[in-house]
Symmetry: C2
């Protein structure tokens, strides 16, 4: 007797998200997979550029490094931290250059890009908007059931990916009502709309 094909409903939905923490010297990255309701660690690493090279060659190293990760893990989206502050104009420019090639790698691979503030990422991972780098490393290690903590740059990449997954899951569950109403700060409307659903 031919066995009946497995129902599609039994197979948990799987989504791969790439988190990036760009930097002119070290660019951290992390791949997180969502299988059903379970967060799974895909991979993580740091693209270290050679300081002996000129800035154009170093940007090529970052671009090619991210392209390799995209080709290997085929993420559905790229998640990055929004930047509001910087030490000075030179730091902002260098960070911008690294962000530029990371965003380009996403666009060239037709991957959606999502950006979150540092506070949003910290709240999603640690539950506290002023969490330290060490707290992020520890929580990322715990959430993804890893044995040892990773480098801070890679932890920031994984944290950006986790934040995107949390946000998407929350939006799916609330049918996007929160994001539409929360921007206006109109929670009364949200409660009324949610009650009718």
């Amino acid at each position: 007797m031919i066995p009946a094909p497995k129902s599609k409903a039994t197979r948990p939905e799987r989504e791969v998200i790439l988190g990036i923490d760009p930097g002119s010297i070290f660019t951290g990255w992390g791949v997180v997979e969502l299988e059903g309701n379970r967060l799974c660690h895909g991979a993580h690493g740091v693209i270290a550029t050679s300081t002996a090279l000129g800035q154009a060659e170093r940007l090529k190293q970052i671009y090619r490094g991210i392209q390799d990760v995209i080709q290997k893990h085929r993420p559905a989206a790229m998640s990055l931290e929004k930047v509001f502050f910087s030490r000075n104009v030179q730091s902002a420019l260098k960070l911008g250059q690294a962000r530029g090639v990371a965003l380009l790698a996403a666009a060239e691979s037709q991957i959606a890009v999502a950006e979150y503030s540092a506070t949003e990422i910290k709240v999603a991972v640690v539950g506290y908007g002023h969490a330290t780098k060490e707290q992020i490393q520890k929580m990322v290690t715990a959430l993804l059931c890893l044995r040892s903590p990773m480098r801070a740059d890679a932890a920031d990449g994984l944290a950006a990916a986790i934040c995107h997954i949390h946000r998407r899951t929350f939006q799916k569950r609330t049918g996007g009502i929160v994001s539409r109403h929360a921007t206006k700060g109109n929670w009364r409307d949200y409660v009324q709309v949610a009650a009718k659903r």
Copy 2:
């Protein structure tokens, strides 16, 4: 009788330089050719990104636009303005992103990159370090024997290319002594070395 082949010495040396003025909305570019001692206008233009698109897609437009110019004109070097100041961090970040993909396009095509301060470019083109945008447009139009002035972004691209050619020509004539000694502000040494040549 077979005519003697033309001597290579009679053919003027030709070098093509691409100047870029990166920007998140408009990226100006200009190609200047040096034939012997003569500056020739190659081409110029502005890559305008669509504000309806996300920043990743707009960076792709800039990157592809510069790649097209490189493939068409095969420059030996890319010249850009060094950035020291910016209105704020957000402006510096956006400019950095556009610069990042411009530098990447140069690295991917194995083109050397040269950077000059705004003052160096203004002195090379106008002869005055505090020249206005209009003065740059007029002088670029005059130096390249063009009939009508171009857009300010394209003029800045052409000006960066002219600055690189001036600097290279000057260094060739002085055998690189000026650049080695001028950094130390030791002009007495320079005069002594130059006198021995």
